[in-house]
């Protein structure tokens, strides 16, 4: 038996070559050579929408030799929020998690900075809106990649026939499918008159004043239209200002034209209001219209999604983005980033938007004119203005521009809708403002 002796030079060369191969080609060895990746996606309410995400992830996984597991976690009962809290505490769990609105910021210290991949994504897809930056960035660090899945604008969804008949407003002419809005006269004043007319006609607007997000989002957009902020961007209290007083006065008038039970409304109430045919307008993404398409087609074919009315300080619409964030305890961050790049390709985004029937909104300016919004119906073009294709309105979130950690408290505690209700129920303006100021002071604790 002869045995070849390994020289020192041969040993060093072999070691160097295998190290180089390992470093330079992380995803090219056998099946699942690039390790594992677990993902916590938001469980979409549109049947079949999850499949588009699964297919895209599997396609990427097969190419990159990564073993992936996907959990679809619903937002019903705040299950996704509970999972986020548990994973943040345990410092263990999924590698990638779909963070709704405020949760990227509230877990900022535990999230991987994805600025390195956001640069190329923005270069390809276009700039993101201000709300995405406000919620997704902290100290020049990107806390996640904006996810189109679950992101939405909660604009007005009007009944074409009822608005024309009772308020004399042709919403299709104001927001024509395929062309720019002609909505200069669509102001808060016009909106209030329309609310009054529809109330008199027995088909009041369905705008809730409960403590859930739909209610808070509408109040947030209207407050911002008056320039009303409870806490400014620097963290100063700005409750006792004329802008806040004007917003409260407006809401007081508006509430008297709304259904009497709006204080108890949750996020399902406005949907039911529209689908049952009892109201002329609600503020919601097209989910209510989609349900009407199935359950009340005669209502659906009269629905038109469009922009918010303009206030003294501009036209604001509530925008609620999701972010795909990578936990800093993830053991496969490079693979996670590679997947997020793949999911942010225009073709992938279009596939996911199509699967959601146009409900999901990409955050990028080059992706607001996809075919699905032009073609969805009935009536055809009903979603054309849903993604804000002409940047006609400023996309915002309630309680902004307060520092996100304070704003999240204002949002979660529904301070805005509570103020409106208190004032409407007869509390003196200054007392309501003092109450809100006390609440905001409490939210500022560090």
């Amino acid at each position: 038996m002869s045995r070849k002796k390994l020289t020192r030079r041969q040993f060093v060369a072999a070691t160097a070559m295998s190290s180089a191969a390992l470093i330079t080609a992380p995803y090219v060895r056998g099946a699942y050579a690039a390790g594992k990746l677990s993902i916590g996606f938001w469980d979409h309410w549109v049947p079949g929408a999850n499949k588009a995400s699964t297919d895209l992830v599997n396609e990427w996984a097969a190419k990159e030799k990564v073993e992936v597991t996907i959990d679809y976690i619903p937002s019903q009962g705040n299950k996704n929020l509970l999972t986020i809290a548990a994973e943040a505490q345990a410092k263990s769990g999924h590698d990638i998690f779909a963070m709704p609105t405020w949760w990227a910021h509230s877990n900022a210290d535990q999230l991987e900075n994805v600025a390195d991949i956001m640069g190329p994504i923005i270069a390809e897809n276009g700039e993101v809106n201000g709300t995405v930056k406000y919620l997704g960035m902290a100290d020049n660090k990107w806390l996640g990649v904006p996810a189109c899945v679950g992101s939405q604008i909660k604009g007005p969804c009007s009944r074409i026939d009822l608005m024309k008949k009772h308020a004399g407003i042709d919403v299709q002419a104001m927001y024509p499918a395929g062309s720019e809005p002609k909505a200069d006269d669509w102001t808060l004043e016009t909106f209030l008159k329309a609310a009054e007319a529809c109330h008199k006609a027995g088909v009041p607007f369905g705008i809730g004043l409960g403590e859930t997000t739909d209610n808070v989002d509408t109040a947030g957009a209207i407050f911002l239209s008056f320039g009303a902020q409870l806490v400014d961007a620097k963290g100063n209290l700005t409750v006792k200002t004329d802008a806040v007083r004007q917003a409260l006065d407006f809401y007081k008038k508006l509430i008297s034209f709304l259904p009497p039970d709006v204080a108890a409304w949750d996020d399902a109430s406005n949907n039911k209001w529209l689908v049952s045919g009892r109201g002329a307008m609600i503020m919601n993404p097209p989910s209510a219209w989609a349900v009407a398409k199935r359950d009340a087609p005669q209502v659906a074919e009269q629905c038109w999604t469009h922009g918010f009315p303009k206030g003294p300080k501009g036209r604001f619409a509530p925008y609620l983005p999701y972010f795909w964030s990578i936990w800093n305890f993830s053991k496969n961050k490079e693979a996670a980033k590679s997947l997020l790049i793949a999911l942010s390709k225009p073709a992938a985004i279009e596939k996911m938007v199509n699967a959601s029937g146009g409900y999901d909104l990409p955050a990028y300016e080059k992706l607001t004119t996809l075919k699905v919004w032009q073609e969805e119906g009935p009536p055809k073009g009903t979603l054309f203005h849903y993604p804000n294709p002409y940047k006609h309105q400023t996309l915002s979130i309630a309680a902004s521009p307060a520092p996100p950690k304070i704003a999240q408290q204002i949002y979660a505690q529904a301070t805005l809708t509570k103020m409106c209700l208190r004032y409407h129920q007869g509390e003196a303006m200054e007392k309501t403002l003092a109450w809100a100021e006390g609440e905001c002071e409490g939210f500022m604790r560090s």
Binding site: N78, E211, A263, A264, S269, K272, A412, Q413, R445
Partner: protein, 312 residues
Amino acid sequence: MADVALQPNTVGAAQPVRKRSGLQKALKRKSTAAFLMTLPLIILIALLVLYPAFYSLHLATLNKSMQRFVGLGNFEFLFKRDTFWLVVKQSCIFAITAVLFKALIGFIVAHFVHNIPAKGQRKWRGMLLVPWVIPPAMSTLAWLWLFDPSYSAFNYTLSFFGIGPIPWTGDADWARFSVILVNVWYGAPFFMIMYLASLKSVPEQLYEAAAIDGANWWQRIWYVTLPMMRNIIAITTLFSLIVTFANFDIVRILTAGGPLDHTHIFATWAFRIGIEGSDIPLGASVSLFMVPILAVAAIFILRDVNKRGNEA
């Protein structure tokens, strides 16, 4: 001398025997066997109850970003908040009113069922237990539809009598009434079944003796039934008080704490602050606030039970 010389060996040889016999004796003792048999449960409770309890105590001492120890700072902060005292007040109203009504209704219904002939009693017992065996999250959803602000089945029915519409969940007082009503509906069967079991154990001779002494219906209840049921009433009340104070699902589903925070109780407000508001330390502090209240209640009630036990 010989004794002294032999002593170390004797001790050395006798010790293992004594040890072994001690262990055998310990193992033979009923209490040891009982302890060993309950050990798996004790470990489970330690893992699932004690660890989270101590962890929440730890959380309650941290600042909002959970990076700094603040001692009792979170409680100090809470004590200055009006909403917190509103929640304390509501939790007390909710728990005390609900437990009182559950006990009262349970007591009355238990008497009715007790007086039903044995043949048909089982059916009634089964039917009356239905609210208690349905998962509360499900039954509360049904109640939510009955109370729905716009499509309430109750309001629809009442409209035939020219009454309403009643803002079941939209008005502070009605909303409080609604959450208490659902809690009573859900919890009364538990009281009923406990009281029924207790009623069945009251010796018939006592009633016969009372009847011979000329006691009327009320006197029989006051001097025979109630004293015989005292321990069960006390333990059931304590148990229910703890569970009702810690209630979450009914309020969360029915009103989510609204309108204007007027139905929030500790658990729902803690969830709002801790999970929805991402202020976990403050949420933990809110949920821990009820521990001393319940501990004091438990001490008083159980001490009383003990006293009565000794008297007996």
